[in-house]
Amino acid sequence: MSSDPTILSVENVSLSFGGNAAISNVSFDVRQGEIRAIIGPNGAGKTSMLNCCSGFYRPQKGRILYKGNGLDQDVTKIPPHNIASLGIARTFQNIALYTGLSTLDNLMAARHIHMKQTMLDSMLFWGRALREEVEHREFIEEIIDFLEIAHIRKAVVGALPYGLRKRVELGRALALEPKLLLLDEPMAGMNVEEKEDMARFILDIHERRGVTIVLIEHDMGLVMDISDRVVVLDFGVKIGDGTPDDIKSNEKVIHAYLGQE
């Protein structure tokens, strides 16, 4: 694994809101094809970090280089609506689905960047628009099958239970065909069974689709099980970085987050 090239490198990133430093001078890298976890206590800056990586926040200092396309593309300088076409997809801590659309349309909406139809094509729904709709529908159906959400295909997502909505959101991120998938607490608020399902999906996405995954999670047992390497943040500062075993024995991390036995 260690010989794999870097897909994302976070270099000396600092972010503050007014006078509050959310992230101070954090650097780490994500290698192609690994599962990288970001952990830390509440308010440590994990979500802020992910928001920087997805181009949602602009850090005041540092840069975040995305190398998935063989180029050094600085995520912090790219407009948010162009991030998706780089190959970066994400899910949100508080599910951010299009609540008025069906599961199917939520996933189809994520195919936006892969579609070429113009406004006129859309209006006429003939030729290219029709062909594209069918082609992308086939792609979407495959994801729907994979995530086992076929039964709620045409249900409006606003009315779905929490666990399913999390799954639909994962599907929407997958529909972008990402190379790098950022998951913000994909298993928050789930019971053990749902967590296991989600872990299975994440591992499948990682292995079968070869997607690199960065995830934030609070369930330590699970993080240590599925991730290749872990970054630990505390009060916006990186206090640990390494394999799960390194982290478990890291004094600082134990003190700040994991706690004594």
């Binding site: 997805s54 181009g55 949602f56 948010p80 609506h81 162009n82 991030i83 998706a84 076409s85 997809a89 994400r90 949100f92 951010a96 689905l97 299009y98 609540t99 008025g100 659309l101 069906s102 349309d105 189809m108 909406a109 994520a110 195919r111 936006h112 960047i113 579609m115 139809q117 406004m119 094509d121 859309s122 209006m123 006429l124 729904f125 628009a129 029709l130 594209e132 709709e133 069918v134 529908r137 086939e138 159906e141 709620i152 045409k154 249900a155 409006v156 009315a159 929407r172 972008l176």
Partner: protein
């Protein structure tokens, strides 16, 4: 709510699954309904043809507003103002360039679309009520402009209207309301097809994405500014077509005939009653409100005959009070609009006899 399909009703392709007219009888009903619309002039009723024309341009204006407010979630108070642009554009090109109606309407649509883009520019920076204020500017500036003395030769100035030449199509005059029905119904059907197609393809999904979660939409690759502008453009194009139809059916266009803020607000009201963000909403809301308001207009004087002591008050105030009451009742009992009720009725019908 999941879409329920009866057992044994299978689709063999995704295209079939996406189709709107799913069964032969759907097609039959649609053809019959359209046929009835085209046969209305033979009823020889001035009221019916006049109302049908009114409904046609109102529905088109509502479909446009629906894209902006219903799908994209950008409240607009300028739809009547945009209609005025369309009406004038169509009137002017028919008068001065002698364009036939089938060219004048698309021209009016594009011209209004351009004006819509202009007033959509603030949408990047401002949201919600603040954007409503910005569109309010359109509703004030456009009518104000049409009354300016330096444009009086073309737009009528303080007179408040200009005459619109009779529309002719393939040498047939459409001067009478009963003749104009053919044109207005045809255009309404075309715009309905376009509106339906937009709402079920890439463009429509991007609009709803912006409405439901603009931050997520942006991270999933939707350029917010560009798509909000598209929504403004489409809303204005529909308003332009509606305005052109209205101008040619009324044979005059100008601020004397309405096109004011009250109408813009009424359009929003119709859309809320019909169902925001649904394709059926503009039809249900437009038809319902027009018929109810006509009913009130007819019933007010009848009521005045019954209570002669309050005749004057009833004559003048029955209509607004009745209309206001209907609107409030709708907001209380059917806040999601008539289109939502319609889907509930359909679902119940499919589930019979098990539905309550």
């Amino acid at each position: 709510m999941a879409v329920l399909r009866p057992a044994g009703d299978f689709d063999r392709s995704y295209q079939q699954d996406m189709s709107i007219l799913r069964k032969p009888w759907h097609l039959l009903v649609t053809v019959l309904a359209i046929g009835v619309l085209y046969l209305t002039p033979f009823l020889n009723s001035a009221y019916i043809t006049f109302t049908l024309n009114r409904i046609a341009y109102t529905v088109i204006a509502l479909q446009g507003l629906n894209f902006l407010t219903g799908f994209t979630g950008q409240i607009s108070l300028g739809q009547a103002g945009f209609m005025l642009v369309g009406g004038y554009a169509s009137a002017l090109v028919s008068t001065y360039w002698g364009l036939p109606i089938w060219l004048a309407i698309p021209f009016a649509a594009l011209a209004t679309g351009g004006v819509g883009l202009l007033f959509g520019l603030p949408s990047l920076r401002v949201k919600g009520f603040y954007l409503a204020m910005a569109t309010l500017a359109a509703q004030f500036i456009i009518p104000w402009l049409t009354r300016q003395p330096f444009l009086a030769d073309y737009l009528g100035g303080t007179k408040g209207f200009i005459d619109v030449p009779t529309a002719t199509i393939f040498g047939v005059s459409l001067g009478e309301q009963s003749q104009f029905v053919y044109l207005s119904v045809t255009v309404m059907l075309i715009m309905t097809v376009l509106a339906n197609n937009i709402s079920r393809t890439r463009l429509g999904r991007a609009f709803v994405a912006i409405r439901d979660n603009d931050l997520a939409a942006e991270l999933l690759g939707v350029n917010l500014f560009s798509y909000k502008l598209r929504a403004f453009f489409i809303a204005a194009v529909f308003a332009g077509v509606a305005g052109a139809l209205r101008a040619h059916s009324q044979r005059a266009v100008g601020t004397e005939l309405g096109y004011n803020l009250v109408e813009s607000v009424l359009f929003l009201g119709m859309l809320v009653i019909g169902g925001l963000g649904t394709n059926l909403g503009p039809y249900l809301g437009g038809i319902f409100v027009i018929l109810v308001s006509d009913f009130a207009l007819w019933f007010g004087p009848r009521l005045a005959e019954i209570f002669p002591s309050n005749a004057a008050a009833l004559q003048s105030s029955f209509r607004p009070i009745f209309f206001g009451m209907v609107l409030v009742l709708f907001l209380i009992f059917e806040p999601r609009g008539m289109a939502h009720r319609w889907t509930l009725i359909k679902a119940a019908w499919r589930l019979r006899p098990f539905a309550r």
